[in-house]
Symmetry: C2
Subunit: 177 residues, 2 copies
């Protein structure tokens, strides 16, 4: 169902700053959280940084397993995204509770999120700033997009459940990658 995307293009999904889902698996049990604090760090290899609070149940999974999937939800998933953010994997199976489907990934034990229009399989490559800032550096090992969700509009969190949805696209002559 998903189609592979060149790793050199993965940054184009994250650089605009959408809310993402961070999926992990600890001892084989999948979990998912909502995350906005991420940024690209390098084009190739495709590296990013993200901050996952040590208060989050996903923190231990990411720390221990060293792997995750970053799913990018379109606007149609906004309600599920908020429910994921409002609850903890300590208490419930978020996939089952919120109509999300965990699908096997190719490089990591963490699952793809079937309903997301893109999924990035990642491994943790640097934990130097985890203790101080809960900051993980990740490398994208494999990138997937759902050809059936073309031109998906993403959502961006402005705080306290207020989101701005992607509007028009403009193209300007640029030498920036």
């Amino acid at each position: 169902m998903f189609k592979a995307l060149a790793l050199s293009k993965a940054y184009q999904l994250l650089e605009p700053g959408p809310v993402v889902l961070l999926a992990t698996a600890r001892n084989g049990i999948p979990n998912v959280m909502t995350m906005s604090w991420h940024m690209m760090v390098e084009f190739e290899p495709a590296q990013l940084a993200c901050v996952v609070s040590s208060a989050n149940y996903s923190f231990a999974a990411l720390r221990t397993e060293g792997e995750c999937v970053i799913g990018i939800p379109a606007r149609s998933l906004a309600t599920a995204v908020v429910k994921v953010g409002n609850s903890s994997g300590r208490d419930i199976d978020k996939f089952a509770s919120f109509g999300l489907t965990a699908e096997p990934a190719s490089q990591v034990a963490a699952p793809l999120v079937k309903e997301c229009f893109a999924n990035l399989e990642c491994k943790v490559t640097d934990t130097a700033l985890v203790k101080k800032y809960n900051l993980f550096v990740l490398e994208v090992l494999k990138a997937w997009v759902d050809p059936q969700q073309k031109n998906a509009k993403t959502i961006h969190h402005c705080g306290y459940g207020r989101f701005v949805v992607d509007g028009e696209t403009i193209k300007l002559k640029s030498r920036m990658r």
Copy 2:
């Protein structure tokens, strides 16, 4: 002209992932670059991380002076933002060349960008990952918003001069800050 914004709200400007302008001053000479690789790291104190390529002229200014201003441009500045990104402070005075105005900041020598709807005065607080990733950790010392640019729509870079502009805003019941 600018009005102070509580530092505890600064994250609401950056978390949505807009393209920003990074203003620096080296030996009193102001410069500005376009940046998309940034994320929040902590709410209070308001800390963020950003990646500034060592190939950029601004890198040395940020490294040496340890200060900057992050200006957030609205959609109306998109053309100037791209011109800033397409040129180097090595060659030209980007403020003068692209109709931008450097205004004195209160806590740092780097200037505010008058045309931006928000400006964050920042100091570099951690350089541990500069050598490896060009990653700086910054703390926001002072935040300013332009009361005349209410509900400004920001732009988000998707690569090669393609930008998505903020569209509708949705509000969902959330326990997330």
